[in-house]
Each structure stands twice: as structure tokens, then as C-alpha cells.
Chain length 359, copies 2
């Protein structure tokens, strides 16, 4: 076990891209998308060989606690860090950091995600151990994902010179964080080995990130300090509820990472996917002889390359290819696989046309 090491899982997102399975009250991290465990359960389980569950924290919205806490019954209820409202990744990380600092001023804090898939869990854990060592040495560490295609949907990290090798993992200085590129630049980024995807997974000493907040986000730092000072007082909740709405929404990337010095990246190959749409879920799963991925009761004739997720009904298909069918109690989605990314737009349209019962 790595001493003072804590896993902080960000689980506050609502997510519309896997609609109609994901809903406002049934976010992606609560869903069983791959195998029998929910995404949150996968996220906790893959940490278990590294640390006792008492050192796993989950940052989420108050609404989601009743949904998520039964999924990890052995996690102490105090390990749910509840944001009164979403304030960006900087907000979530800052709130977790002040909690952690009170528990263990020496804490090393891994910032992890609840709704991403990681196929190579052993490699992931080895990478976390290496990142933990780099963080212990004082760096702000990011886990970079080696690009497997010219994605335009992720930010990229450009590495500079190598500064260390830890347990076989190379540690590079970060040269720059690069915003989501267009297709041409993405192709360039993907061709070489200088760029990684920014996965949103980080590691640092809790003291170090608090120092960075103080330097780059001084208002936020002051707000965090006020919350921290009240944390053991009877008025803790009151103070949090008073301060939190006044905090400006900010991402950790823009708020801290792009401005800080001594940021390092450890590029990893861990079979990572953010399951950004239904087509990505298709790609992650093994297909049957007709190239279909089926979960539920399906009866297909001349049906190939389809993702079929049944609910309580029989889904019969004839002459269908490369199509997604998602059946739920109140909505059926039928979507061309190559347009899966438009689900989000459809959900936005539902919202703007007032059909909120389906969100």
C-alpha cells in the first residue's frame, strides 16, 4: 500500500450522451454499461488492490448520493464529498482537497473519474503508483492517454523533455495544454508521440494543489479556506451553503494546470475510453458473429453491426446495419451508429421544446 495515498473519484456529472439510458436522475456513473458492475463500481473496484476503501473519496451532487451510496456499501458515508452545486472541476477538486487536508496534511491525492472505462486495470494501477511517486516528489502529475485516433473531442497535452523514469513509466515535463483541435491538427497530434489526450486524471500532494489555488485562483482559495475553517464547527453546512453559490465555475485545466509550473505528464496505454457516445460503447464490447453487441432480448434477421440494448421488451430487427437501438421504459432511441454524437443535440432539443419528462 502507498502511504498517504487517496483516490478521489469525480462523480458529479449528469451526462446526456448516453440518453435515453442516462438521465438527469440516472447519470452515466450509476449505469451498468459494461459487465455487471456500474461505472462507479468499476472506478472503485479498480482502486481496491491499491488502497483500503476508507481512502477513496467520491465527489458528487447531493441528489446523487442516495443513488450512488448503495452501489458502494462498504464506502464510509463521510467519504462522499457533496457539492451543493456544480462549480466545475476546480470546484470539485478544491472541495475534496480541503476535506483531505483536514484528514491528512500529507495526503497525496489522485483525481480520478467515475464514468470512464479502463481496460488494462493492472497497467492503470502501476501507472498510479508511478504517478504517486512523482507527486510525492512534488510534481503536479497528469496521466496522458496515448492517442489511438485523431480525436477532436479531447484536449491534448504536449510533452517536453523527459525528467524521470519511474517503475518503467516515463515522466515528461508538460510543454503545453492544447485545447480541442480541429481534424487536421488532431491528425498531426495523433501521428507523433509528443501529444497525449488529457484524460482528466491527476495526482498531487494536497498541499501542492492548495498552494496552486492560492497562487492562480486566490479568490477561490480564500473561499476554500473559509469553508475549511468552519469544517469542524456546527455551522459547517451553513458556511458551505453560503459560500458555494458565490464560487465561479472553473475547470482545473484553465484555473490551474495551464498556468502552473512543474507540471509533468506520464503517458499511458491503459485501454481508456470515456464512452463518449453509444458508438464508443459498441467499440468497447466484443461482438457476436453478426458483429452485433446485444444486451437484452433481440431477434434479428439480416442484422449486422448493431448495438441493441433491450429493456423489458423483445426487439425484433430485419435488414438493419450499423444502428443503435436503446429501449427504456418510456423512450426508444434508434440512431445510426455514425451519428451517435448527435444524441446530445437531440436531448438539448427535447429540453428546449419543454419535454423535460424525458431528460
Amino acid at each position: 500500500m502507498m502511504s498517504h495515498f487517496y483516490g478521489v473519484i469525480m462523480a458529479g456529472g449528469s451526462g446526456t450522451r448516453l440518453w435515453p439510458l442516462s438521465r438527469q436522475q440516472q447519470p452515466k456513473q450509476a449505469l451498468r454499461l459494461i459487465g455487471e458492475r456500474t461505472m462507479l463500481q468499476h472506478a472503485v473496484d479498480r482502486l481496491r488492490p491499491l488502497l483500503p476503501v476508507e481512502r477513496v473519496l467520491i465527489v458528487t451532487a447531493a441528489d446523487y448520493v442516495p443513488l450512488l451510496s448503495p452501489q458502494v456499501p462498504d464506502l464510509p458515508r463521510d467519504n462522499f464529498i457533496v457539492e451543493p452545486m456544480a462549480r466545475g472541476t476546480a470546484g470539485a477538486i478544491g472541495l475534496a482537497a480541503v476535506h483531505l487536508q483536514q484528514r491528512d496534511p500529507e495526503a497525496i491525492m489522485a483525481v480520478l473519474t467515475a464514468d470512464h472505462f479502463i481496460r488494462a486495470e493492472d497497467t492503470f494501477r502501476s501507472a498510479l503508483a508511478a504517478a504517486c511517486e512523482a507527486a510525492r516528489q512534488g510534481h503536479l502529475v497528469t496521466l496522458g492517454i496515448r492517442p489511438t485516433y485523431a480525436a477532436t473531442g479531447y484536449g491534448y497535452i504536449r510533452r517536453g523533455g523527459r525528467i524521470a523514469t519511474i517503475d518503467g513509466f516515463e515522466v515528461y515535463a508538460v510543454d503545453a495544454f492544447v485545447e480541442k483541435p480541429d481534424a487536421q491538427r488532431a491528425a498531426q497530434f495523433c501521428a507523433g508521440d509528443v501529444y497525449s489526450w488529457n484524460s482528466g486524471m491527476f495526482m498531487w500532494r494536497v498541499q501542492r494543489i492548495m498552494d496552486e489555488f492560492a497562487r492562480h485562483m486566490p479568490d477561490f482559495y480564500a473561499q476554500l479556506q473559509a469553508i475549511a475553517n468552519a469544517m469542524r464547527a456546527p455551522t459547517a453546512d451553513e458556511v458551505l451553503m453560503a459560500i458555494w453559490p458565490t464560487i465561479r465555475k472553473e475547470t482545473i485545466d484553465y484555473g490551474v494546470m495551464e498556468k502552473a509550473s512543474d507540471v509533468v505528464v506520464i503517458p499511458v496505454d491503459i485501454g481508456w475510453s470515456d464512452i463518449g457516445d453509444w458508438d464508443a460503447l459498441y467499440d468497447l464490447q466484443s461482438t457476436d458473429p453478426q458483429d452485433n453487441v446485444v444486451d437484452g432480448d433481440h431477434f434479428g434477421v439480416a442484422t449486422t453491426g448493431c448495438l441493441v440494448r433491450g429493456g423489458k421488451r423483445l426487439i425484433a430487427t430485419i435488414g438493419l446495419s450499423d444502428t443503435i437501438i436503446i429501449d427504456t421504459d418510456d423512450v426508444i432511441l434508434v440512431c445510426a451508429r455514425n451519428r451517435a454524437q448527435e444524441v446530445r443535440a437531440l436531448v438539448n432539443e427535447l429540453q428546449s421544446s419543454g419535454r423535460t419528462e424525458y431528460l
Copy 2:
């Protein structure tokens, strides 16, 4: 009103081609497919300007009477002619004929269908009036549908010389009944004006068809006579139940029409369709600006040429073209429009794999 004229509507079919909306216990004639009325209601309604409803008979299976009779509440219950089991169109017509003969030996009997669509109802009624006149003169009359495409799914009628014109309708001697042709012959049949589709609609004096049964189906005729003789006795049902299972299944075409002399055909243009599959239903209905035919709650993005029939759920589609979606309480069908004819095979497969709950 045409004296002694009776409409006999054949409504015994179960039909699997509009599955999953049509089921064994919910046959096509009971469904609302076009407009607000069921197919049976359309079939009765289009006769109403011609004759009082007391002269409409409906031949069907015992199972279907509780389903169908509430659809035509003004039809006398005795006008349901109940077949103990299906014995082909000859059986159904023969049973109706003996009933009619008891009511009115002078009856002229139109044999009509409960599950076909007729767009030009006025023309249809005019054609029936002309056919009634031809039947009164003693002919066996068939209504032939002028082919609109080279259909391989229907039998054809080849006409011979014209023998009369009645109220603008030309009456031709029938030269031959031709079985379902292959595509090449169908194209030939469709090109000229000598062939009509055999619509299964007939007209004759009831005495005439009984004579034909006696001549061409003597065993059947004897069985009908036995049923007729018992019809007013207390044992009528017993006799029917004893005899009916021993009757050989036969179509009226093979049993009588192909063998009889003095058969005439009246070719008509009445916007007829047997709604043989979901694609045919798409073709019959007017489309929205995206060429979709929608019945129910549909939210579509880049969706064109689709037939969407909703049940109780929202159906959301993205990037879908020329596809049929039918949602029911226990089954969803998603089917390429150009493969709609394969629904029947799928239903057969469900049956052979024992999934009878969906039939």
C-alpha cells in the same frame, strides 16, 4: 338500394405480415391502420350507402367475434357467420351461402374482404352495383384490379372478349385464372390491359354458387346440405361441429372459379391495396415534409422515409432512412422498408423457436 343484395365480408384471417401490431388475438381486420376506423369498420362503412347493415354478413372465427362485434355495434349478432375452424375461402363462402339461402333464396351475394384498403369508395360502390347487375343476369362475377405494378404476390385473371357494358363498367368473359407469376411474367401481365389482379372479391346469385359447389365440389356440397338441413333444428350447432372438421380446406379459386364456365371479370380502378406489409401501409399514407409517416410520439433528427408507429413511448430517431419502427407493449420492430415482406418469416421463426407469447 339494390334488392336481394347482400354483402358478405370475409373476416377470418389472422395475418402475420403486420406483426407486431397484428397478433393471433388481434388480427389485421381489427386494427386501426388508416384513419380512426378499424379495417373491418372501413369494410362495413363503405357498404352502408348501398344497403342496410342488416344485409351485411361477416364470416369469421369464433375467437374473433368478441373482438369484432363491438366494432360494428349496429350489426345484428346473427349476421356473424362463425366457422368452427378455417376451411379455406370455399368453406367460408359455402357456409355464408347456406345461411343466405335460408334467409333469401333470391339473394345476390357479394364476397368482400375485411382487411383490404379501397381508396375510391364511390367507384367501388358503382362497381358493386354493376357487378350486382351482372350477377343478377346469372354470371359468376369477379372484380379484377387493374395492375399498378408487376406484382408477384397476387393471382391474375386473363380476360377474353367483352360481353357487356353496365353503367360504364366493362364486363369481360374470363379466359383464365393464372397463379402468382414470376417477375418476368408479372411484368408482361402488367404491361398490357388483358390481365387483372384477382382481388378475392366476387359476386353471384347464391343459387348459382350452390349449383357450382354441387358440380365441382360435390362432397363439400353434400356437407353444406347436411348443415343447411339442420340449420333450424336444435341440433344445428352439433351438426355443424360434427361436419366442419371433415371438410377439406379449399380456395374458392381452385375449387370453383378455375373450373366453372360463364365467369366474368369487371376490371376496376378503385385504389385497392391488400396492405400486404408495413411498406404497403407507408405507401398508402401521406407523408410529412421529411417523407415520414408518423403515428404516435416521434422526435426525429435527420430521419426520412420512415414509417413510425408509436405505442406509449417516445420514439427518438437520428440518421435513419427508409425504416419501419413499430412499438407495442411487448415488442419493438425495426425493419428496413425494402425488407418488410420478411416480417412473416420472422414470425414463423418466432413460432418455430417456441416464442409463442409474441404471436
